[in-house]
C-alpha cells in the first residue's frame, strides 16, 4: 500500500489535491475580506496568517525608490559653476554618467534617422546651432523612399532570392503609400541601434559566461528574471536613469532584448564540437585566435539565430517603449489605441507586422546564407551590387526632383510621403467596426455577460478565496512530488516573496487570468496540434503559421480583440488566446512528428489502430515536449495578461505596473511588481521544466 503510493505520482497528486481542498474548506474567507480595486494594497480581512501572510516587505518598493533616487541625484555630487546662472550648481556624477550614455545612444539613433528621413541635428552635433542659422542649406536631406526601398529589395534579393525581394518591396511600398514612412523609419532607426548594441553586449556576456563558470552562474538567474519580467516594469527605471525619449526607449529595449543573445551565444559556444576546439589548439591558436577564428565562426548558426531573436524582441518593444518617449510608429499606434481610433490602429498594426516580417525574414536569410569564397569573379561581377546601389540612388534622387515639378506644392509622392497623408482605409475600417459593433451588439453583449457571470467571476472569486496556506501547500507539494525537497524549497521561496509583498491578492488575480488562458489556449493548441500532426502538409502549414504569428509584436494582438469586445476583460482573454496558443501548437506538432520512425514501425507491425497509435505510442513519447510547449504558453499568457491591462481593467498586477508609470515612487513599485510577475513565471517554469527533463530522461529521449 505505502509502497505503491511511493511509486505512483498520480496517487500523490490526488492526495495533494485532497489536502488542498480540505485546507481551503478549513480556512474560510473572513467576513470582512474585500478586494480593494483602487488602493495599491489589498491585504484586508484579518490577521489570520493561514489566510494571508502579513505584508512584511511592503516597505521594499519605497525603500528601493528612495535608494535609486539617492544614488542618482545625491550620491556623489560635484559643485560646478554655471556661467548662465552665475552661481554654483551641484551636479550628480551618476546622473551625468547615465545622461552621457543617453546622449551617446540618442546620437546614433538620430544619425541613422536623419539619413533616412532628413533633419539637422546630426550636423548641429558636429557644429552648432549658430552654424545652422548661418548656413540654412546645411541639413541632411533624407533619402527618397524609393531609394531605401530599392536598396532593401536589392538586399533581399541577394540574401534570399526573388521571393524575399518581392516581400520586402511590397511591405515597404505599402508602408510608404499609406503615409507611415516617417514613423516607420524612426522606429527602424531605434530598432537598428538597440539591436546592434544588444548583439554586441549579448555576445560579450555570452563569451564571458562561456569562459567563466562563475559568470555563468551569476548570469543565469539574472537572465531568467530579465526574460520573465514584464516589459512594462523596465520602463520606469529607464525613465528615472536616462530621462524621457528615444534613448530611454532604446535602452529599455536593450535590457529586454539582450538575454536571448547571451543564451544563444553560450549555447552556440558550448555546442562547438570538442574536436574542433582541439583542432584549433593543435594548430597553435592563442586564446583570442581560438575564440574569434574558430569558436565564434563555428557557433555562427546559433549566434545568428540570436541576432534574429534580438531584432524580434526589439520590435516587440517599440509600442511599449513609446510609453517612455520612443517616437515612431509604436507611438502613433499607442495614441490611436488610446483615442479608440481603431481603423487607424489597425493600419498601423499592419505596418508594424510588415516591418516585423520583413526584418525577420531578412535576418534569417542572412543567418542561413553561406559565404561564397569563389574568387574568380570579374571586376564588374564583384562590384555589381555597388553599381546597382548607385544606380538606385541616382534614379531615386532624379525621380524625387521630377516629383517636385510634377506635384508642385502638394505632396511629393516620389520623395517622402508625409505622415498620414498617404492612402488610407481608415474610414472604411471604422465604418466596418461600427457596423460590426451595432449589428452584433446584442449577441456579443449577451456572450460577454454570460462568460463573465457564469465562467469568469466564479473562477476569479475561487482564486481570490484561496487561503495562503492552501496555495503554499499546493505549489510546494507539486514541487516536492516533481523535483523533491530542492524544488519544493525553490518554488516556496519565490512564492514567499510574493506573499510578503503587499500584492498577494493581485498576484492571485493574475494567476486566475493565466489559468483561464492556459486552459483555453493550451487545450486548443494541443488539440489543433494533434490534428495537424496527422498530415505532413497540415503540419508544415501550421508551423509556418506559428513562425509568422510569432513575429507579430504581442501588442498587435490587442487590436482585433478590442475591435470586437471593446475595453473589457474578455477582450484581454481574447487577445491572450491566439498569442499563447502558438507555442502549445508548435511543440505538440514537433513532439508528435519527432517520435522515432523505428517505434512507429514497431507499432505498425504490432497492428495498432490509428487511435491506439496516438494514445499508446505517440502521445506518451511526445508528452514531455508538449509540456515544454505548455510552459511557453504560460509564459506568453503571463506576458500578455500584463500588457492586457492597457485594454481592460484587469485589477491585477499588470494594472498596478501600468499605474506605476505615472507614479512618483513608481520605480520601486514597478520593479517589485515586475519581480512578482517574474517569480510567478519562474515557479511554473521550474516545475514544468524539471518534470519534462526527468520524463525525457526516463524515456531515454534526452
Amino acid at each position: 500500500m505505502l509502497n505503491s503510493f511511493k511509486q505512483s505520482k498520480l496517487q500523490q497528486f490526488a492526495l495533494l489535491l485532497v489536502v488542498f481542498i480540505t485546507l481551503c474548506w478549513l480556512v474560510p474567507k473572513p467576513d470582512d475580506y474585500k478586494y480593494l480595486v483602487s488602493a495599491a494594497t489589498s491585504n484586508t480581512g484579518s490577521d489570520n496568517w493561514l489566510w494571508r501572510l502579513p505584508d512584511l516587505i511592503a516597505w521594499l518598493p519605497l525603500w528601493l525608490a528612495d535608494g535609486i533616487n539617492y544614488v542618482m541625484f545625491d550620491w556623489i555630487t560635484v559643485d560646478v559653476y554655471n556661467e548662465d546662472l552665475e552661481e554654483n550648481e551641484s551636479i550628480s556624477v551618476v546622473k551625468e554618467i547615465t545622461r552621457s550614455l543617453s546622449w551617446f545612444v540618442l546620437f546614433f539613433i538620430q544619425t541613422i534617422r536623419e539619413f533616412l528621413v532628413g533633419g539637422l541635428k546630426t550636423i548641429v552635433t558636429f557644429t552648432s546651432w549658430d552654424f545652422i542659422n548661418d548656413n540654412p542649406w546645411a541639413k541632411l536631406p533624407g533619402l527618397p523612399w524609393t531609394v531605401v526601398t530599392g536598396a532593401a529589395i536589392l538586399l533581399g534579393f541577394n540574401l534570399g532570392g526573388r521571393f524575399l525581394a518581392i516581400l520586402v518591396g511590397a511591405s515597404l511600398t505599402y508602408i510608404s503609400l499609406f503615409g507611415q514612412w516617417e514613423p516607420a523609419m524612426k522606429t527602424l532607426s531605434l530598432v537598428l541601434v538597440a539591436a546592434s548594441i544588444s548583439v554586441v553586449f549579448g555576445l560579450l556576456l555570452g563569451i564571458a559566461a562561456y569562459r567563466s563558470k562563475l559568470v555563468e552562474a551569476a548570469l543565469s538567474p539574472v537572465l531568467g528574471i530579465a526574460q520573465t519580467m514584464p516589459q512594462f516594469s523596465y520602463l520606469v527605471p529607464m525613465f528615472v536613469l536616462f530621462g524621457l525619449g528615444d534613448h530611454a526607449g532604446a535602452l529599455a529595449t536593450i535590457v529586454f532584448a539582450t538575454p536571448p543573445m547571451v543564451r544563444l551565444t553560450l549555447l552556440g559556444l558550448k555546442s562547438v564540437p570538442s574536436e574542433v576546439v582541439e583542432a584549433g589548439l593543435m594548430s597553435g591558436c592563442t586564446r583570442r585566435q581560438l575564440m574569434f577564428g574558430v569558436m565564434l565562426p563555428a557557433a555562427r548558426q546559433n549566434i545568428l539565430v540570436g541576432v534574429n531573436q534580438v531584432i524580434m524582441q526589439c520590435l516587440a518593444m517599440v509600442v511599449i517603449a513609446s510609453l517612455i518617449g520612443a517616437t515612431g510608429i509604436g507611438d502613433d499606434l499607442l495614441k490611436a489605441l488610446n483615442g479608440l481610433k481603431l481603423g487607424k490602429a489597425f493600419e498601423l498594426g499592419v505596418c508594424i507586422v510588415l516591418m516585423a516580417i520583413t526584418l525577420d525574414k531578412l535576418s534569417l536569410a542572412w543567418a542561413n546564407k553561406p559565404i561564397d569564397y569563389f574568387a574568380d569573379l570579374s571586376f564588374s561581377q564583384r562590384h555589381r551590387n555597388k553599381f546597382i546601389l548607385l544606380a538606385i540612388l541616382a534614379a531615386g534622387v532624379l525621380l524625387a526632383l521630377i516629383g517636385r515639378y510634377v506635384f508642385g506644392d502638394g505632396i511629393n509622392y516620389f520623395f517622402i510621403i508625409d505622415t498620414n497623408k498617404g492612402l488610407t482605409t481608415e474610414s472604411y475600417l471604422d465604418a466596418g467596426i461600427d457596423w460590426m459593433v451595432t449589428s452584433w451588439f446584442q449577441p456579443l453583449e449577451a456572450f460577454k455577460a454570460w462568460v463573465f457571470v457564469d465562467v469568469l467571476e466564479p473562477v476569479r472569486s475561487a482564486f481570490r478565496g484561496m487561503p495562503a496556506i492552501a496555495t503554499f501547500t499546493l505549489v510546494m507539494g507539486v514541487g516536492y512530488i516533481i523535483g523533491g525537497v530542492r524544488s519544493a524549497l525553490v518554488v516556496g521561496a519565490y512564492l514567499l516573496f510574493i506573499a510578503l509583498t503587499a500584492w498577494w491578492d493581485r498576484a492571485l488575480t493574475t494567476a486566475y487570468f493565466v489559468a483561464i488562458a492556459l486552459v483555453i489556449a493550451g487545450s486548443l493548441g494541443a488539440l489543433l496540434g494533434i490534428l495537424c500532426a496527422r498530415s505532413n502538409r497540415a503540419s508544415k502549414v501550421a508551423l509556418i503559421m506559428c513562425d509568422t504569428l510569432q513575429t507579430f509584436p504581442s501588442f498587435i494582438y490587442l487590436i482585433p480583440a478590442i475591435m470586437l469586445f471593446q475595453v473589457s476583460n474578455i477582450a484581454v482573454l481574447i487577445a491572450i488566446t491566439p498569442y499563447a496558443m502558438i507555442p502549445a501548437l508548435r511543440y505538440t506538432i514537433e513532439g508528435l512528428r519527432n517520435v522515432s520512425p523505428a517505434l512507429q514501425d514497431a507499432g505498425s507491425m504490432s497492428g495498432v489502430s490509428r487511435m491506439q497509435r496516438l494514445i499508446s505510442i505517440e502521445l506518451p513519447l511526445a508528452f514531455p515536449h508538449i509540456v515544454l510547449g505548455i510552459n511557453q504558453t504560460v509564459m506568453f499568457a503571463l506576458a500578455m495578461v500584463i500588457i492586457g491591462a492597457m485594454i481592460g481593467s484587469t485589477e491585477d498586477l499588470g494594472e498596478l505596473i501600468l499605474g506605476s508609470l505615472s507614479d512618483a515612487q513608481g520605480i520601486g513599485k514597478g520593479l517589485i511588481l515586475g519581480l512578482n510577475v517574474a517569480f510567478m513565471g519562474l515557479i511554473i517554469d521550474h516545475l514544468l521544466n524539471t518534470w519534462a527533463r526527468e520524463r525525457k530522461e526516463a524515456l531515454g529521449l534526452a
Partner: protein, 356 residues
C-alpha cells in the same frame, strides 16, 4: 623462433627519442588533487580507486623514435585517446614526465606550448574537426595563418598540400560538401601543412566505411613513405594496427598491456587480454618470412633452388614453399642467405594451434 623486429633495434641505437613518456598518470575525479597532496605526490592505485577516482592512463612509460610509427590500440574506454591527449597536452597530465625532443612538455608555459604546436606538432581527429565556415583551402591554410604567415604564402603552401592528398579541384568546397574520406584528407593535409616533426592521429579512419578505410590506410602508408614522420597513431582496430605499425602498444583500463613489434605481439602475446586479439588474427597475413625462418643448417646440402625475401609476408610465398620438399633459403636485400623456411614451419603458421 621469433626473429627480432628490425625497426626498434635499428632506431634505438640512434640518439634520443622524439617522445619520451615516463610514468604518466591521468586520473579523473574531484578528489584527485587533495588525494595526491595527502600522499605527498605518490599515487596508490588501489586506494585512489576506492575513493572513486577513475584512471584514464595508469603508469604509461614508453619512447617513440624519429621516423617510427607507434600505434596505440585499445577498445573504447581503454584510455588510448586520453594518452594521446596527454602527449599533445590537450588535457593536463596528473603525474609523470613527458619529454618532446628532450624538452619537458609539462613544464612549458602557454606561449612555449603554442610555439611547439605551431611548428612541431600536427594532429588528425576522428570526426575530422574541420572548421565548418572555411573552405578546404582555408582549412588547410588555417594553421599557417594562425602562425602569422601571409595569405599569399599560406595559400600557396596549402595548394601544395591539396596536391599531396589528391584533392585538386576541390579547393573551394566547404567541408559539408565533401565525403567522409575527402574530409579526412583535408584533415590530414591541415595537420601536415606546418611540416610538423610529430604527427598525432586519433582514430583517423574509424568514422569511414571499410572500403574507404582501406584506401585511406594505403594513402597514409604512401604519405609516411614520403615524409617519414614520427607518429603516434590511435586506433581500436587491431587489423589496422597490424597493417600500419612499427610497434603496437595495447591498452586496457589505462594500462599498457604490451608494447612490441606486430609480429612479436602475434607470436608472443604477453597477457591473456592481448591473446584474445591475436587468436583471431590470420597469421600468414601478418608474419614475414624472417619472423618464422629457422637457422640455416650447414649440414643440409640439398637446398631448394627458389629463394624468398626475408620481408615477404608468409601468405605470398606459402604456395611455393609448400610445393618444395627441400628447405627454401630466405635472403635479405643484398641476396645473402639469412635463414631457411621448411614446409613444417609454414604448415605450423597456417594450421597450427596457437594456444597461449
Amino acid at each position: 623462433m621469433a626473429g627480432e623486429a628490425g625497426m626498434t633495434t635499428k632506431n634505438q641505437a640512434k640518439k634520443q627519442p622524439v617522445i619520451k613518456c615516463k610514468g604518466i598518470y591521468k586520473i579523473f575525479g574531484e578528489a584527485v588533487p587533495s588525494l595526491i597532496r595527502e600522499n605527498n605526490g605518490a599515487i596508490d592505485v588501489e586506494s585512489f580507486k576506492q575513493q572513486g577516482c577513475i584512471f584514464g592512463v595508469n603508469d604509461a612509460s614508453f619512447e617513440v623514435y624519429e621516423g617510427e610509427m607507434l600505434v596505440v590500440m585499445g577498445l573504447s574506454g581503454s584510455g588510448k585517446s586520453t594518452l594521446l591527449r596527454c602527449i599533445s597536452r590537450l588535457t593536463d597530465t596528473t603525474s609523470g614526465n613527458i619529454l618532446i625532443d628532450g624538452e619537458d612538455l609539462l613544464a612549458m608555459n602557454s606561449k612555449e606550448l603554442i610555439e611547439l604546436r605551431r611548428n612541431k606538432m600536427g594532429m588528425v581527429f576522428q570526426s575530422f574537426a574541420l572548421l565548418p565556415h572555411k573552405t578546404v583551402l582555408e582549412n588547410i591554410a588555417f594553421p599557417l595563418q594562425v602562425k602569422g604567415m601571409s595569405t599569399k604564402e599560406s595559400i600557396e603552401r596549402a595548394s601544395a598540400m591539396i596536391d599531396l592528398v589528391s584533392l585538386s579541384g576541390r579547393e573551394n568546397y566547404y567541408p559539408r560538401q565533401l565525403s567522409g574520406g575527402q574530409q579526412q584528407r583535408v584533415g590530414i593535409a591541415r595537420s601536415l601543412a606546418v611540416e610538423p616533426d610529430i604527427w598525432f592521429l586519433d582514430e583517423p579512419f574509424s568514422a569511414l566505411d571499410p572500403l574507404i578505410r582501406k584506401e585511406m590506410q594505403d594513402e597514409f602508408l604512401r604519405l609516411q613513405g614520403l615524409l617519414n614522420k614520427t607518429i603516434l597513431f590511435v586506433t581500436h582496430d587491431f587489423d589496422e594496427a597490424l597493417r600500419l605499425a612499427d610497434r603496437i602498444a595495447i591498452m586496457k583500463d589505462g594500462v599498457i598491456e604490451q608494447i612490441d613489434a606486430p609480429a612479436n605481439i602475434v607470436l608472443n602475446p604477453a597477457t591473456e587480454y592481448v591473446a584474445k586479439f591475436t587468436n583471431e588474427v590470420p597469421r600468414e597475413k601478418v608474419l614475414k618470412c624472417s619472423d618464422v625462418m629457422e637457422k640455416e643448417d650447414k649440414n643440409t646440402k640439398k637446398m631448394s633452388s627458389i629463394k624468398v625475401p626475408a620481408n615477404a609476408i608468409i601468405e605470398t610465398v606459402a604456395e611455393e614453399v609448400l610445393n618444395e620438399s627441400k628447405p627454401v633459403p630466405v635472403v635479405d636485400e643484398t641476396g645473402k642467405t639469412v635463414g631457411v623456411l621448411n614446409r613444417t614451419s609454414i604448415i605450423h603458421v597456417l594450421f597450427g594451434k596457437h594456444e597461449h
